[in-house]
């Protein structure tokens, strides 16, 4: 009586409106939910804010979404990767705004957003240009910056196995941002290689509990960014 499956990537992302904020899992190509991103390109939503560690490579997946000029802002720690030409052009042109956040601060802000913590203090970036203008405070004689929790309207992530209640397992370092992003969005959409009945996943090993997941899509043979790029693919 609880079944979070959707039948297509198009259905999964159908309600994403212009102006939405979207967290997108992945560190490089590991964990990038390419099929969901491509469905979002087809769907047409624009003026998006994307929260993701990178900005994609080549002209597929996240880079393709940027190239289609759908993203007005990225919140990101490392927006240049090998084969990453799309974002630099949009950034220099002034089309896409960048909020650069240290990787650990980005992760902790997302975790805080999901955990109901509106703000926290961190030692990261004190005394650097990324700390300039930020509120700071001393604890035990050391300086820390105040950072704010981060939430989004949607999260798109890629799992290895999901059950129809939304419990998710990941593949190796594809886990990266997915569990915390799942917790920080109003609507979390998971594509998984295999979708199973409740009870198949050992409750001791669940990484993302179903409470954080709203929609589950089976994508049995997900594409890998590097393979698409090697094959010269451009999306759409």
């Amino acid at each position: 009586m609880i079944d979070k499956r959707v039948v297509s990537a198009a259905e999964a992302v159908a309600d994403i409106a212009d102006g939405s904020s979207i967290m997108i899992g992945g560190f490089g190509e590991a964990g990038s939910p390419i099929e969901l991103i491509h469905a979002l390109i087809d769907q047409g939503a624009s003026d998006l804010t994307v929260i993701s560690n990178n900005t994609g490579s080549g002209q597929v997946g996240l880079a393709a979404l940027l190239k289609e000029r759908r993203v007005s802002k990225v919140i990101c720690s490392f927006p240049k990767t090998l084969n990453s030409t799309v974002f630099p052009e949009l950034y220099r042109e002034g089309f896409t705004e960048l909020e650069l956040v240290p990787q650990g601060t980005l992760a902790e802000r997302i975790r805080a957003g999901g955990a109901g913590v509106p703000a926290f203090y961190t030692p990261t970036a004190v005394g650097t240009p990324l700390g300039e203008g930020k509120e700071s405070r001393e604890f035990d004689g050391r300086e820390y910056l105040l950072e704010y929790g981060l939430t989004a309207d949607y999260t798109l992530i890629k799992g290895l196995v999901a059950d129809i209640h939304g419990n998710v397992l990941y593949n190796k370092t594809a886990r990266n941002f997915a569990p915390i992003m799942a917790s920080a969005a109003d609507v979390t959409i998971v594509q998984a290689t295999t979708v199973v009945e409740p009870g198949v996943i050992d409750p001791e090993t669940v990484v993302t509990p179903g409470i954080f997941v709203d929609r589950v899509l089976e994508v049995a043979e997900p594409a890998h960014e590097s393979e698409l790029i090697a094959a010269g693919e451009c999306y759409p």
């Binding site: 999901g114 419990n167 409750p203 669940v206 409470i211 954080f212």
Partner: protein, 220 residues
């Protein structure tokens, strides 16, 4: 208990069953210790709820057969429970991230007092010799989307539990959405307590007499 019997109100089981009817299918629910635990017995036909216990389990199932319990599979009341298919174990910081982060749909709690502004007192009498103990109650009321209170309408000595202002130490301020008592279902609204439904055979006036703050009648 004699007080309650006089008013011919709902039994505790009936209160729990009435509350369960208001929970939408697929809800994630945390049940407090005591009467709230009874709610798990009454899942309306065609619905499924997933129970969270803050000590680290989502998908909590019923108590095991006597003697079948695992001393390390317990609920927040430290009683033996089971895990349903689709369950997940997690540590306390993750468990309270679910609570504080607004991921649970409903928290059902008992009460010592509820004020007309939705303040809840359910953790301490405030007596000087009491051993203070709070557990997860303050987190639940601060973070869960909806808070339902299930309680006898009056104390054993007949004092109203629904009051203008709590005299006991608060668990949370302005956080109760609805109260299920043996006499009525009552919403906390910006205007104060509003009766949603009376127990069959119980009239508005008799509930008002047992309530320490003005009651508004059900909206037509």
């Amino acid at each position: 208990m004699s007080q309650q019997a006089d008013t011919k109100g709902w039994t505790r089981e009936e209160m729990a069953q009435r509350l369960a009817q208001d929970i939408p299918n697929g809800s994630y629910v945390n049940l407090g210790i005591g009467i709230p635990e009874l709610v798990a017995r009454f899942v309306p036909q065609g619905r499924m709820f997933i129970y969270h216990t803050e000590n680290g389990l989502l998908g909590m199932g019923p108590s095991p057969e006597e003697g079948d319990g695992d001393p390390e599979l317990i609920n927040a009341g430290k009683r033996h429970v089971t895990a349903n298919p689709g369950a997940a174990y997690f540590h306390h910081a993750d468990s309270f991230a679910m609570i504080r982060g607004g991921h649970l749909d409903l928290s059902v709690l008992g009460a010592m007092q509820v004020s007309q502004h939705g303040d809840l007192a359910n953790w301490s009498t405030g007596k000087p010799d009491a051993i203070p103990a709070v557990g997860g109650a303050m987190d639940l009321v601060a973070g869960v989307k909806q808070v339902f209170v299930i309680t006898q309408h009056c104390t054993k000595s007949g004092e109203p539990k629904l009051v203008e202002s709590c005299s006991y130490p608060l668990t949370g301020r302005g956080i109760v959405n609805r109260i299920y008592s043996d006499l009525a279902v009552i919403d906390v609204t910006p205007e104060g307590f509003r009766v949603v439904e009376l127990c069959p055979g119980v009239d508005f006036q008799s509930v008002q007499e047992r309530t320490g703050a003005p009651l508004l009648p059900a909206e037509q």
